[in-house]
Amino acid sequence: MATASETTLVRAPSESGTKWWTRFLDPSERTLAVLLLMPAALLLTLIIVYPVCRLIWTSFQNLSLTSGVPASFAGLENYALMLEDPVFWETTWNTVLITLITVPGALLVGLGLALMANLPFNVKWPVRLSLLIPWALPLSFAGLIFAWFFHSEYGVVNDVLRRLGIEGVIWFNSANWAFAAICLTIIWKTSSFMALIILAGLQTIPRSLYEAAEVDGAGRFRQFFEITLPLLKPSIVVALIFRTITALQTFDIPYTMTRGGPGTSTATLAMYIHQNTVDFLDLGYGSALAVVMFALSMGVTAVYLRMIRAKG
């Protein structure tokens, strides 16, 4: 804070009856810190704190644009309605299930992809590029493409099965098969993101460790579990946090593939929020659902952060 003290010296002989704002011209370290943090704090308040507070406030209101009556305070009514709404429970369960299946799934596939991409190829860029493509593709495109893949009559999946002499299923006609198709698509789409982060982690592991292990007579298998995996842990945790949060917010792929069908058996919480706010214009109820999803994401993030902290 050399400049700060210099200005203090220059301005020192100012009069005793100073105006309140002069302390900003001659800030103490504390004031300077506040001043420097202010823009970021203001921005965060504007784009995160205010909308979240507004969302929570709206969730306590009866606010439906189709009702023709102005908004009124409803207390916990929206939340009470939610608890006895079977579709809320179904979509929440579907969301949790998708998270439980696709996060470990994407981790395993992503780890495999990263290990493959880290092999000493002569030309590296085609491998890296093919790793990037699923990640670069918009989610809804992936959903639409896979919806055609799994189409019972015109889809490539059933066509291949037919050629192998297996009678394919009508994927989107059954809750379980439709769910499986969605999970497969999500794993395909998201594992490349996991692979990218893990690949970055892999490249920070020094060669010398493996050389030392070889000298000590450790096999490939042992090397993987004793060196690679432990050193990858920070990258894996970061990748898991991102993946879990996006999994809890799953929307695009089931929306484009099945629209939640058959019935509501593949609808997610995010889709139900969208349906209530955008289609039904019931902003009060939609906000209450969104608050639950917000709490869910916060809870999961807190658990992960604690995990990182515990590991030091």
Partner: protein, 419 residues
Amino acid sequence: MNFKTTTTLLLAGAAFGLTASAATAQTNLRVFVSSQHRPDVWRKAFDMYEAKNANVKVTIETGGNTSEQQAQYLNTVMTAKDTSLDVMILDVIRPAQYAAAGWTVPFNEVLGNDAANYMKRYLPAYAEANTVDGKIVALPAFADAMFLYYRKDLLEKHGIQPPQTWDQLAAAAKKITEAEKDPNLQGLSFQGRAIEGAVCTFLLPYWSMGKQLVSDGKLSFDKETAVKSLKLWKDFVDQGVAKKNIAEVATDDTRKEFQAGNVVFAVNWSYAWGQFQGAESAVKDKVGVVKLPAVQGGQSASCLGGWEWGVSAYSNNKTEAQKFVQFLSSPEVSEFMAINAALLPQFPEVYTDADVTKAVPWFASARPVVETAKARPVTPRYNEVSEIIRTTVNAVLAGQQTPEEGATQMEGRLRRVLR
């Protein structure tokens, strides 16, 4: 050129520009048209208006493939209070809902004391659908109803008359598909995907058995009838009359499959007719169209469709837009659209107009169907009602629920919405 002369010239230019625009006072109207209803032909109708009103320029905007997708788009535009859109075409189920949300401007002021008489010119169902608490919230663009399309050639070949009941249809379909031995030939195609069309799928037999879903604004759900309705469709799938993946079939899939020659009977809206007669149709001149079959012992019932013109409450040109809509909703445009786009007229007399019957001969017999078609429940919360019905139909057809389970769930959820 020095600074002074430049400024003077610029100012003079600006002043000239201002007076010029004041003299013509050009109004730009932006109109949303559903992409499935021949925007190209509507464009010609708009050109007619531009020719008569030199100061009005109309821009067309289209989007979305289905009624729900279009509603989603318009919902976003309206909640954002966007001023860029002046006129929008709305599915018959939406004017009440848009009026409740305050998104459309009533026509009462423009129409004056004559409003009631003005509405009497239309088919009664449309006068009703566009009037909410005495306010005229939109004007009809065209009428629509569901019909039974059938393969005239195949029915003649096997000596079968167009069916009067759903049982007759099942028997006829089985007879024809068995005799034809074509593995691609389906007996009946209808809408089983969770889209708006599936609401009508459920209501057709339900209404045919004489029951109503809503009477006097109250839910009058008859569970036994609902079970029978769901069972009727599910039986078609189980008996092989409809294909196994019918839960994947949307309105336009039915149209495409029938057009490709793979369907004997199809439940669809009137728009399909024009496409069946098109150059790339495999069934050109082989298509018959009749009113929908009834449930044994019941009356034939059809679902009332049609689209309406509404003026956005956020438009900057409300008066001009309302005048424009009055033109679009006139017998003149109705006749033009009937002849050129095969859209059913909203005026009773246009059905029997000589030019119209020459271009689309079956319109003469379509009028009684449209006149007796039933409207889906009119409620501001229609989107929720629709979602409940269509997901249940979809779940039952996919075999996820039995018709009994479906009807029970439907009743419970409908009760919550229509309290």
